[in-house]
Amino acid sequence: MDWNLLISQLVNSVQLGLLLFLLASGLTLIFGIMDFINLSHGSFYMMGAYFCGSIVAATGSFFAGIIVGLVGVFFLGALVEWLIARQLYKENHLDHVLVTFGLILVFDALVHIIWGPSGLSIPLPDFLNGQIQLGSLVFPIYRLVIIFGGLAVAGILYLLISRTRLGMLIRAGASDRDMVESLGININRLFLFVFALGAAMAGFAGMLIAPITEATIGMGNDIIIIAFVVVIVGGIGSIKGAFYVALMIGFIDTMSRSYLDDFLELLASTAAAETAAPAISAMLVYVLMAVVLAFKPTGLFPPTAGNR
């Protein structure tokens, strides 16, 4: 067994898990509190990457890109909530799906107009570009930065949700929105903040990944589906569920892609294993979701004890 490969795959799986968490935590809050399906959440992921890329290109500073990008996506999210989402909370889910799907087209087209059809690469500063040696293991520094960035945001979010008054309102909103409203809380302001916060976290995920993959049109459209799976499996409205399930799905997805063919070779011929492995690993995440929903239709960590 190649231990270096195993450990680097573990690092990759944690990285994917944390990126998924950044997307899914915002999604699950918007889902849980506003009962709003936001298909265009992946567009914030994309816009974050493009904002950051433009600022880096203009100023040369990666950190300026992150900071300005975060603020930019936060306000973009607030704008979308104020202009569009707010009009739809009372409508049915089908309208949410349709309008936010239309928003994806609009955002993709806007990026096409502003930044052109080709991708935007984000150069890393030199000190993030190298590799770090731990014993016999070599890690790219930037991958560790992604992991620490993701963990830091998860930690801040945890403190915000569990230790502040605002977080208390968010938790209360996720478990019983009507009650929060009837206690005289300004629900519009809470919704606006939650939506913008979710957008900013999705944007942050986009900024983190863009230096590796570069920012492209529609980059959010595939990963958002896995983020939805995380939300559903974790339980709608549950940050804790989003965290554990994101890490779990990151692990399953990465590991099955790299090790499933070796494992299948024990059971079948090499040729059969090499054909079947990619297909099976592509299915695993969705099969997991089907199994969870079949036994626990409200997900693994539903946010309430009572029913809503």
């Binding site: 569009i84 309008v99 239309g102 096409h112 459209n221 799976v229 690993s281 299915m283 979701m289 239709p297």
Partner: protein
């Protein structure tokens, strides 16, 4: 369809169907093969939209993964053709069996859930199919698969020429319309529509609505799979991209633009969608922006779609 010819909107629909029926003759006369292509494609997607309407419009099951069946149908032509099996009956039966099985399994899981969960789980299952075909190197993976010859049928009903393929599509369209028309007026259809509005009440009336809804889901998937067989023959090139979930989103739009829960609406929703797309892309390269904005506006302000608009004629 007796009562159709009594209302003005019904007459408009029947007139449009008649026009669709003679369209190839018109296009041949005016020498416009491109328009025949566009219309063939439009009708195939139209059939898919009709099948989605059966579960979405009549049954209230919002599936965000319906194009998976279009893709499965197309691959049921592509994969046999890859092994030099061109018999059309094999393609058709393979598509029916595969779509029915996949719909039965995924539907059995999905229909246990409601609301948001149902939307997301259907979308996830279609992504699953998408990624499976994306990873099958043998069948071209993301490069797609070229189909070198169309499905073979007896001479009198072959689909070799563009016009004969068009009449295949038109034939399936008429069959689908007639079938859905009969279905939603049957006892079965009443139960489906009833469970859309109040599932609990239908259950307390003694109906096993889960079974009815699952059956409806499977029927809809099979119709969509048949459209997929025609799509595979029409494009002669298939790739997983045609199953990406954004395509399912477009399909829902077509149903809504046309009028969910109406017999003809989704067909003309699909045709309008595709022609609008084509026309806007000729005018400006930034057509996506206008298109997206237009779609949002239609949902927010145009309740009931084309069908509701045509029905104003009846008053």
């Amino acid at each position: 369809m007796v009562n159709l010819s009594c209302t003005r909107s019904g007459k408009v629909y029947l007139g449009m169907l008649f026009l669709l029926g003679i369209a190839p003759l018109l296009f041949q006369w005016t020498n416009q093969p491109f328009l025949l292509d566009l219309l063939s494609r439009g009708l195939i997607i139209g059939i898919a939209a009709l099948s989605l309407n059966l579960i979405l419009g009549y049954g209230g099951m919002i599936s965000l993964g319906h194009v998976a069946y279009l893709g499965i149908g197309a691959y049921c032509v592509g994969i046999p053709a890859y092994y030099d099996v061109y018999d059309g009956w094999i393609h058709l039966s393979l598509a029916i069996v595969t779509c029915a099985l996949f719909a039965l399994i995924t539907g059995a899981v999905s229909l246990r859930t409601k609301g948001v969960y149902f939307i997301m789980i259907t979308m996830a299952f279609s992504q699953m199919i998408y990624f499976i075909f994306l990873s099958l190197e043998e069948y071209g993976a993301d490069d797609g698969l070229v189909i070198y010859a169309r499905s073979e049928f007896p001479v009198w009903m072959n689909m070799e020429s563009a016009v004969s393929l068009y009449y295949w599509i038109f034939g399936l369209l008429i069959l689908t319309l007639f079938f859905i028309h009969r279905l939603v007026r049957s006892r079965f259809g009443r139960v489906i529509i009833g469970s859309k509005y109040n599932d609990l009440r239908m259950q307390s009336l003694g109906f096993n609505t889960y079974g009815y809804r699952l059956t409806c889901y499977v029927i809809s998937a099979v119709i969509c799979g048949l459209a997929g067989v025609l799509l595979g023959n029409f494009t002669s090139f298939i790739s997983p991209e045609m199953m990406s979930w954004t395509r399912s989103g477009e399909l829902i739009f077509m149903v809504i633009i046309g009028g969910a829960g109406s017999l003809f609406g989704p067909l003309f929703g699909a045709l309008s969608f595709l022609f609008l797309e084509e026309a806007l892309s000729l005018i400006t390269i930034y057509w996506h922006l206008i298109f997206g904005g237009l779609l949002i506006a239609l949902v927010l302000f145009g309740k009931g779609g084309i069908d509701a608009w045509l029905r104003k004629l009846d008053k």
